[in-house]
Assembly symmetry: C2
Homo-oligomer: 556 residues x 2
């Protein structure tokens, strides 16, 4: 059971005061509003598999909310809400916005929250989200009001169970607060309900701190702003520590297994001496050794300038984007599948290297031989899905070791005379449940508010859309985008599957271009910036600043 | 060289606005003030070694500043300042307060900053700290204005070099911003200058985020407030993540090799399910296995309540306080000294355990055998001082492994049926260079301001004192305490040495008593609090809150 009730004095001073913050609303959601449907559907040419799997969800138009009247029910309705996947700051405000919009349209409307993620719908495990309960969670971090979970509703039995649960509550709709896969799952449920002639509507809210659920109609996913600001605080403080102590190299790994948006945003905020962006590494087909050489070059240049300290920032998913690592993992995977029992006997480094020299292509064998002992061993294990656990490698530690080796070699050749004391950091959990920034507090509230209007407007299979987010809140354009219009077919666990394509860092857009044209100035000079802790009160410059990513994308 | 000049636009929005913040001043430092000397010296009964080493620095009275006139020079003077040791938030404000007080007494007075720590005095490496330069660093974090270093001025040649440097600048005094050892070193310099009939005065400012430089006359060291708040933000966010995801145990290790003040303060701020305090562990003579059993007990009880998640907080220095670990390290040290080359051949766990079973006492051998493989190996290495590198052990990882083992055993006995997924974190560098809290900004400014007045008042060999810090700034009582009155004799590297005794957590005082009487409520219930990021603007409840440690000590 979730501890849903907290004594009024059992909250921090910040949480107590933030409970009273009333998020601002975009003009299109204030006063009398109506649903505006675009005259044409967004997409007309769907992949065959999507035509087949989503026959009732196709050819829908983008919808927007504008001031006016009509088209939104004022009946008392019941709506369900659920968190799906990892935490992101602001989730509770999506629920607060949803509740306020429902109650404002009809005070008899009800909101119910399914517990511990989508499995809560299957199991009909829920609580009533009353205004009193929700009050204690306004503008707070975390998903603890109702918990979250990673289950997907895909099997026929689970879909049927969800239909049964939602119909038993006489629910008009369900809002799924989740990332790309969860929004796809919302579309699967919406399609199923349409096929089953159920009237339950399903709407998704775009959540992910990784920032990779965005497109022409969704400027940003919620949580990215706050999480990137926390990581910028921490990484910035470490830059200042580095410039004060003047004796350590800090290697900071940041969240983002697929996209490097978080790493890029932090780089734009703090100006590290070197930042590696996975998407650039992939486009340029960098090898692991080339990445190491770039770092070594920075260390050597700074050392020549009398600076044996600095900060290097890398994204969590870097290794998976490196050309030679990809080849090596693919070959290793085949060899392991064929010969795992023998390989397990190779305890000595030299035995392993000799063996893979025979079995692998020369390039892949060289990459393997380049790795330190402990990582060679890690890569010979397989996870429960049979995959090589590349994600378990602490990339910052790997790079620290490899850079150290290269520097020793340079020193013995007389090409480098500095000292190199590296320290590793990884930031992830620190930023997922903090109190949302003013931006995310407002944005999430607007998302929830919009979710309620989409349900009142009778649409289903939509993700809540949000445009013009770099502008003041009043000017945000909220609406809905059909999930089917965002789907592509990708291989997942060996099968083609409709998914929302993750939006990676675009090397042609403003954020990366700005980074690429300025990073040269950050190498030898200490051009560090120290953003400091997120501020909720005080000057707007400090409290309401958008991410550099959003600002620079808006200027494109 | 230090990059001393930063373009006005090369600062973060927060730093730009904070540069304009004018710290509040205690009444005793505002307007016309005078130096008040206590009628009697604080200490009359010194240890023999202190009598011998500090003949000119004894029997001095505590001094205080009160409103009034007289006794403070208005001559134009030159003062030097230096950072010594690790970074702590607020250091730049000590310098700002020092400069403002000097310039306010006589606009011709000058402040010079020695670079990269005390070695900068020896080498006469310095910059002029002009109002323009200092302006860019007001209320910022870090020590990067002039850098810091860990050198101590103890050798005769270094002392003579410092005297030469300071006299060549015609310096009236030197302010050393540092921790316990650095303040001791300030007293050594003060005594040397007195012996050499030099008029240079030396004053120390109490700095350390560990919070262990405090006594009846110094309520708190600077930096503790801010650093503890950053760690509380991070650890609190992790508590919320734990309560949201409901599937991980987070083990959080916090700074504090000797004292557990930081860990205790964070526990009081966030209410983790279990917190271990080194001082209690030592007083109760807990063994490593007893600590593990306490954690296991919490995990089992929470699992029975349906909660397979939680947060455990431990101090960095815990292992050194555990009864059995101390014995084992002592025996291991002797055995290694006698037989290191043979021990290095013991690659297999069973060989090592057999060997130490023969050589160690049964208790110590059992402790060694209890440790996982990797840590057994770490403890067989020795650091450059010949010590066993206990501090290199990642205590949270050690505990995670040992708890996991015990839970497996309990599961096989049918006494536990939960899941246990532990994740480790260590927070240190994140909190040392962040922008100082309002408290530390004000406090550091008052420390610097007081330092200038102590020099104007002609005293030397003092640490700046500060009382009544739990009260509003206006009511703080600033002054100076003779360093010699705080010295005790302790063994350092095998020799008796005068040192300022670190103030550990007192199990009889308010902070620990409050913790001890409430922690039972935090085990099974999720009583987590989420303090959130440090706030500089907005409601006083949020922005000016003292640490729980300071509040509860004030109530004693």
């Amino acid at each position: 059971m979730i501890d849903t009730q907290r004594a009024a004095d059992a909250v921090s001073p910040l949480d107590r005061i933030r409970q009273a913050y009333q998020p601002r609303l975009p003009r299109g959601l204030s006063g009398s509003i109506r649903l505006h449907l675009d005259p044409e559907p967004l997409v007309s040419d769907y992949p065959a598999q999507i035509l087949e799997e989503f026959p009732n969800s196709l050819n829908k138009p983008v919808v927007r909310f504008v001031q006016g009247e009509g088209g939104l029910t004022t009946e008392a309705i019941t709506v369900g809400v659920v968190f799906s996947g990892g935490q992101a700051p602001g989730g509770h405000n999506v629920i607060a916005g949803l509740l306020d919009a429902l109650k404002s349209a009809n005070p008899e409307s009800r909101l119910i929250g399914f517990l511990d993620g989508p499995i809560g719908i299957v199991k009909d495990n829920w609580i009533e989200l009353t205004p009193e309960l929700v009050q204690a969670y306004r503008n707070t971090g975390g998903f603890d009001m109702i918990g979250s979970g990673r289950d997907k509703i895909e099997k026929a039995a689970d879909l049927a169970a969800c239909k049964k649960t939602l119909e038993s509550h006489n629910a008009r709709g369900l809002v799924v607060i989740g990332g790309d896969d969860s929004n796809t799952n919302a579309a699967v449920m919406a399609e199923y309900f349409l096929q089953q002639k159920s009237s339950v509507q399903v709407i998704g809210a775009p959540k992910t701190i990784d920032g990779d659920l965005k497109n022409d109609l969704i400027d940003a996913s919620f949580g990215f702003d706050t999480a990137a600001k926390v990581y910028s605080e921490l990484a910035g403080s470490i830059c200042r520590d580095s410039a004060s102590a003047r004796k350590y190299y800090h290697f900071i790994r940041l969240m983002g297994r697929a996209a490097s948006h978080v790493t890029l945003e932090v780089a734009l905020q703090i100006h590290p001496n070197l930042t590696i962006i996975s998407e650039e590494a992939e486009a340029a087909q960098w090898t692991l050794e080339q990445v190491v050489d770039q770092i070594v070059d920075v260390v050597v240049r700074r050392s020549a300038a009398g600076k044996n300290y600095g900060v290097i920032v890398i994204p969590e998913g870097l290794l998976e984007f490196l050309a030679d690592v990809k080849v090596m993992i693919s070959e290793l995977s085949d060899i392991l599948a064929a010969d795992e029992s023998h390989i397990k006997t190779l305890k000595r480094r030299t035995d392993r290297v000799d063996y893979f020299n025979q079995k692998m292509s020369p390039a892949a064998a060289a990459t393997y031989a380049f790795l330190p002992d402990s990582i060679q061993l890690t890569l010979l294990k397989r996870d429960k899905h049979g995959n090589i656990p590349l994600s378990q490698v602490e990339t910052e530690e790997l790079l620290m070791g490899l850079v150290s080796q290269k520097l020793k070699a340079l020193k013995s050749e007389g090409k480098y005379s500095g000292s190199f004391s590296p320290l590793g950091h990884f930031f992830g959990y620190e930023g997922r449940c903090v109190q949302p920034s003013n931006f995310d507090a407002d944005y999430c509230y607007a998302l929830g508010y919009t979710g309620a209007q989409l349900i009142r407007g009778g649409v289903t299979g939509y993700t809540i859309s949000a445009q013009n987010l770099a502008a003041p809140v009043e000017d945000w354009q909220m609406g809905g985008v059909p999930v089917t219009s965002m789907l592509v077919i990708e291989q997942r666990k060996g099968k083609p599957k409709p998914v929302i394509k993750k939006t990676l860092v675009d090397l042609q857009r403003g954020p990366f271009r700005y980074f690429a044209s300025h990073r040269g100035d950050w190498v030898e000079k200490d051009a560090f910036l120290y953003p400091g802790p997120i501020q909720y009160f005080g000057p707007s410059d400090v409290c309401d600043a958008r991410t550099k990513t959003l600002e620079l994308e808006a200027e494109d």
